[in-house]
């Protein structure tokens, strides 16, 4: 059985439950939808929770940069036509031309705006996998579901309430909801999107912890 997915219309219903306005009067549905989409964006931006892989990226001969669309890049994997795939080491633009490379295939990358810059400068088309944090897609249809993972979707309600109370000039109430939203986001972000590797001590029968 599938888990509950939070369609747009049902998020609006939940927001209206708490605003005590079951039929649109002071807050229109269009306004609430905008607050809800703002909430999804805030979650994706702060929580960096939409983790996506672009498996079709490739370098261009003589061009250092490869474009990506999203918030930031976590890792870039070089996909040779044969042999071992290898993650590129993250560096910065100052070190370009100063790092010891082993061949001409991509070995280092730097993130610069909406591009990953490759070192050494590619001398051919090399296939890359880019692991990055993506931006969400706005919802408009009643059945649309948020792009953020399931664990984050209940937070959208608090964010929409914060915005709704601001319109009503209930600033204290708005801030209360905003603080709850941020607290919830910190709680979710503590665990779910974070990758903590195992240490060697974790998978042996160690002396002490």
């Amino acid at each position: 059985m599938a888990a509950y997915t939070y369609p747009l219309s049902e998020i609006r219903t939940r927001v209206r439950d708490i605003l005590n306005e079951s039929t649109a009067t002071f807050w229109t549905d269009a306004e609430l939808t905008a607050y809800i989409n703002d909430g999804v964006r805030a979650i994706a931006e702060i929580g960096r929770c939409i983790q996506t892989i672009n498996t079709t990226a490739a370098t261009v001969n003589g061009t250092r940069t490869v474009a990506f669309t999203g918030y930031s890049v976590e890792a870039v994997l070089y996909q040779p036509s044969s042999g071992t795939e290898k993650a590129l080491v993250k560096t910065d633009e100052l070190r370009f031309g100063r790092l010891q490379s082993n061949g001409t295939y991509p070995q280092f990358f730097a993130e610069t705006g909406q591009y990953v810059a490759i070192e050494p400068i590619p001398d051919a088309a090399y296939n890359l996998d880019i692991y990055y944090y993506a931006a969400p897609t706005d919802m408009s249809g009643d059945a649309d579901v948020p792009s953020v993972p399931l664990a984050y979707r209940q937070l959208i309600i608090l964010y929409a309430l914060y915005r709704a109370y601001m319109k009503e000039r209930s600033f204290g109430a708005g801030m209360q909801c905003y603080q709850m939203f941020m607290n919830e986001l910190a709680f979710e972000a503590m665990d779910i999107p974070v990758n903590v590797p195992n240490s060697k001590e974790e998978y042996i029968f160690s002396e002490r912890r």
Binding site: M1, I53, A173, Q176, C177, R209
Partner: protein, 211 residues
């Protein structure tokens, strides 16, 4: 009406709200909040655990749930790594040895040469009872572990008082909810393997404040 059925939880909440018959808060609203609470607890505490198998024939394999807690192949636990470590680790063969989670994907290292069956120990979202497309039957029960059931009441009260525009009360109850959730999570979910040191009879035990 028996604990922890939906009708029992709702009655308990109505008692605390001092509204035994639906007037300001409808039953439908409270049902939605109760369902919401269960999902929130499962997401924050990662307390609803499941064991699933996936067939991995490429580097990335999708899975269902909030988080992969552990992965196992061929009766051996796989080691969790960071994405940047791909291709840089010494591997003894081509079978899966390392993993990490990226969004809704399990990513394996080295890249699978063929199909492998991987066992995943995961934390999932509620999908039965009250977690289905909104449980509304009075006999529906939460699927999260029992230790977390009482927290549902606090979550719902916090939201219900928001509707009543008692914002400070809602905030205080919300903080209580988070505190309780943190304690429950620590007791139930945070687990540590024994070390050799744990299995030795200690030389001496010093009780706090003792000599």
């Amino acid at each position: 009406m028996a604990y922890p059925q939906l009708s029992y939880i709702r009655t308990q909440i109505r008692s605390l709200l001092n509204e035994t018959t639906a007037a300001f808060w409808t039953d439908a609203e409270l049902n939605r909040l109760i369902n919401e609470a269960e999902r929130d607890i499962a997401a924050k505490a990662l307390c609803l655990e499941a064991i699933a198998t996936v067939t991995a024939s490429s580097r990335t394999t999708s899975f269902t749930g909030h988080k992969i807690l552990r992965a196992e192949y061929n009766s051996q636990g796989l080691i969790k790594i960071l994405p940047k470590m791909m291709g840089g680790l010494q591997t003894s063969s081509v079978v899966p040895q390392f993993w990490f989670q990226w969004g809704q994907y399990l990513v394996l290292e080295p890249k699978p040469a063929t199909s492998y069956t991987i066992t995943l120990y995961t934390a999932i979202a509620p999908s039965t009872g009250m977690g289905t497309v909104e449980g509304t039957a009075d006999t529906d029960q939460p699927s999260i572990p029992a230790r977390f059931h009482e927290l549902i009441t606090l979550f719902v009260l916090s939201r219900a008082y928001l509707k009543d525009r008692m914002f400070n009360t809602a905030g205080n109850i919300y903080r209580t909810y988070i505190n309780e959730l943190t304690i429950a999570r620590k007791q139930v979910i945070e687990r540590y393997a024994d070390t050799r040191n744990n299995l030795n009879i200690p030389d001496k035990i010093v009780i706090a404040g003792g000599a």
